[in-house]
């Protein structure tokens, strides 16, 4: 690939999977600003490293770069900085404003909260599997681990989520209103 062709290819790839990249960054980093920065860094890194792409799944290659940039950002930012509160962590949708959707919004907030509370290794596997619909093979490529590890992380993450959602009393939500 020539430099120009590689740049065009990366640009196209990144735009096509920008939502996936941002979503992964957002769930790993916990706020809009850091996620956008990490994805932008990832684009620059991908454009520089385009010639090293050795075939295979391009989306997994791109998301692996995004993840590396997110991890770099995570380790660089101060540990004291708290995560944003729950409301700010939910994606903005029209449904949030509609009263009929209060129940749905609440259960969404619960799930989002528990997902965010998961250890990062389980969270990222679940985000890639359920929200981005990646196969085990693709997730293994993004995370750089064997497929067996992907399966055990997904399984562990789901078990933790189920337990958290199961023990989460409904009363708590009603009281919180």
């Amino acid at each position: 690939m020539t430099g120009v062709a590689a740049n065009a290819w990366v640009g196209e790839l990144v735009q096509r999977h920008l939502d996936a990249a941002y979503n992964l960054g957002r769930w790993l980093l916990g706020n809009d600003h850091d996620a956008a920065d990490a994805v932008h860094d990832a684009y620059l890194r991908a454009a520089r490293a385009a010639h090293t792409y050795a075939g295979g799944n391009a989306r997994a290659w791109w998301l692996a770069i995004v993840r590396n940039c997110c991890l770099a950002k995570l380790s660089s930012r101060s540990r004291e900085r708290p995560l944003d509160d729950d409301a700010a962590n939910l994606p903005r949708t029209a449904a949030n404003d509609v009263e009929d959707c209060v129940d749905a919004a609440q259960s969404r907030a619960r799930i989002a909260g528990h997902l965010r509370a998961l250890p990062a290794e389980f969270r990222e596997a679940l985000v890639l599997r359920e929200l981005e619909d990646l196969s085990y093979r693709e997730i293994a490529d993004v995370l750089g681990v064997p497929i067996g590890t992907v399966m055990s992380r997904l399984s562990r993450g789901r078990a933790l989520l189920q337990r958290a959602l199961g023990t989460d009393p409904v009363r708590e939500i009603i009281d919180g209103m």
Partner: protein, 182 residues
């Protein structure tokens, strides 16, 4: 399949990662096992809850624009920093490709021509073989199977009509040849 094995496969089943045989085997087990069915239902509920697309954060337009601008920028730089020789080489490339493509096309069409002519069209045995094979495929594609239970040729002959290209007589002959050779 035992429960112990089934439980380990439930998630892979929902994730579409089992092959068809494994999935079938698991479904059979789940049909007869209330515990596994309940576990599958719980997992599916969690899966549906997580797949709520409102949990997915979409990239803000500002980020999209920022990356598009950066891409346009690097593309422009890359184009302008190419030395004149490289630019000339790029413009020469298509002419070279045209010659290569012409060679490949000539070879390919020659090969196809040779192949078409190499088959002996006059050999009746080859023709029968070809037609018989084609008829066999057609018969397989038809909804009815290749069975007709009758020794009466007034029943057999119309049944063959439209199913095979050969007349019933030559099909009989082929059938005899086939059974004799078995």
């Amino acid at each position: 399949m035992e429960c112990k094995n089934a439980v380990a496969l439930l998630e892979a089943y929902l994730d579409n990662e089992l092959d068809r045989a494994e999935a079938r085997e698991l479904e059979q087990h789940v049909d007869g096992c209330a515990d596994c069915r309940a576990a599958l239902t719980r997992l599916d509920a969690l899966r549906l809850a997580l797949r709520d697309q409102t949990l997915r954060h979409e990239a803000p337009a500002a980020l999209r624009d920022r990356i598009a601008a950066a891409a346009a920028n690097t593309a422009g730089v890359a184009e302008s920093v190419l030395p004149p020789a490289a630019r000339r080489a790029r413009s020469v490339l298509p002419a070279w490709w045209r010659v290569a493509a012409a060679c490949v096309l000539a070879f390919a069409s020659g090969a196809i021509f040779m192949r078409l002519n190499s088959g002996n069209a006059d050999d009746p045995a080859a023709l029968v073989e070809h037609d018989l094979f084609a008829s066999h495929w057609r018969a397989l594609a038809a909804t009815s199977s290749v069975d007709v239970v009758s020794s009466d040729r007034h029943t057999v002959k119309p049944w063959f009509a439209g199913k095979v290209a050969q007349s019933a007589r030559s099909v009989y002959r082929c059938w005899f040849i086939a059974t004799a050779s078995i």
